[in-house]
Symmetry: C2
Subunit: 253 residues, 2 copies
């Protein structure tokens, strides 16, 4: 059994804990958080620890906390024989260089506390300070996911900012649209099939080829009519994204 | 059998033709397009017509052409006994007021020529110049879709601009992210699970509650690091959308 300690109690830590717990080859021996009450998701209370000194020997220590706190935790954590890895998309590998064995174990996914995810489909992006450690992380990663990638720090940064465009920003566009429809007394449900098809299309088309709409067609009349309906905030977004579509697809405003 | 004539040969016309052809209660007697060669999708060549004068008596004439051309076609089309309806999200009902019976039959979906869609799931947004005509359109719509909505012209306009935010703009964000990853030699496939989950989440959460990311957390360090990696075009988009998320969720930059 590979012994794992998880450090953190947020969305990523919770989902990793749940996924690791399902694997017979992995044993989550402890989960650390300063406030023990946030560790209610750990079934066995003896595995909940709130002091770094109480952390036992393990093969892997996974630091799954917010980016700003990683450095501090790494500083306070005693040197370990096992691999110490963080799960951040934006932090460099070297933030953990005080340890002998260290790496990155970045799940490229959006997590919400009350929404189950299928970890087998989540890309796990790995990096380590040695070939041996990388192979060890690969071994663990393949126990929980079918999509294991070796990704260097620059590539990981690119993925992280891409994830913001894909998830955070498009979700915000959905929010703005839902809000706009609500004002016209239209249910969000009426928009769901369109959201679904936007994504389903990408199973057979790449997003560049899937592009449609007034910006692509350079349909100035529709663009003007749309702008007239929008508040200042949405108007700015509409204009910038319309320009960007036209730039990329070689149209002129 | 309800007799239908479809006017147009684009994506919407093609998909409507295919969907109508499957219903035993609907008979597409003709499809019109100025250039007959674009009507190759109509199996029976005798149903392909390229002159408006050749259009026969029908119960419904569906004008499924680009917005700018609707007025001209309506002008040239002889007055009809059947209902004349257009399929545009942005054009008013009254653009067809020269006819005695007229309406709107707007499918809220994104269509690509080579991508089949399940019409039963597509919201059909209907409007008509009389209760009787509205009921007739409802009867036809329910033959091909399980989601039939009565939507007035203002609401339809709101849906149309919402569709741009949901489909066109988020698809463009996917394109920018894919392009950015390509430069880092990362395959688009690595982003697919995130795109899927962005949408799957909305089955159990509304988009406002599903929002995550550095903008929502007001994580200035990550935001600054992201901006540094982006070109001018993406930087503008990133800034505007980050501001908009923070405005909506009540955070301060």
């Amino acid at each position: 059994m590979i012994k794992v300690v998880i450090i953190g109690a947020g969305n990523v830590a919770t989902h990793l804990y749940q996924s690791f717990s399902k694997s017979k080859q992995l044993d989550v021996i402890q989960v650390f958080n300063r406030n023990k009450q946030h560790l209610y998701f750990v079934e066995d209370p003896t595995k909940r620890v709130s002091s770094l000194e109480a952390i036992q020997e393990a093969d892997l220590y996974l630091i799954a906390i917010r980016d700003e706190a990683i450095e501090e935790i790494a500083e306070k954590l005693d040197s370990k024989n096992g691999i110490v890895a963080h799960t951040s998309g934006s932090q460099p590998l070297t933030i953990l260089s005080k340890f002998e064995n260290y790496g990155v174990f970045y799940p490229l996914q959006t997590f919400s506390k009350n929404k189950a995810v299928n970890f087998r489909e989540i890309p796990l992006c790995l990096e380590a300070n040695s070939e041996k450690n990388l192979n060890f992380l690969k071994k663990i990663a393949s126990r929980i996911s079918d999509r294991v990638f070796e990704v260097n720090s620059d590539q990981r940064k690119a993925l992280h900012v891409s994830a913001v465009f894909i998830n955070n920003f498009s979700n915000h566009l959905f929010t703005l649209a839902a809000d706009f429809c609500k004002k016209e007394e239209l249910p969000f449900d009426i928009l769901r099939p369109l959201i679904k098809e936007t994504v389903n299309k990408l199973e057979s088309l790449d997003p560049y080829s899937a592009q449609t709409g007034p910006a692509l067609r350079n349909d100035q009349k529709t663009i003007a009519a749309h702008l007239e309906m929008l508040d200042e905030d949405r108007k700015k977004i509409y204009t910038i994204l319309t320009e960007s579509i036209q730039n990329l697809h070689g149209k002129k405003l």
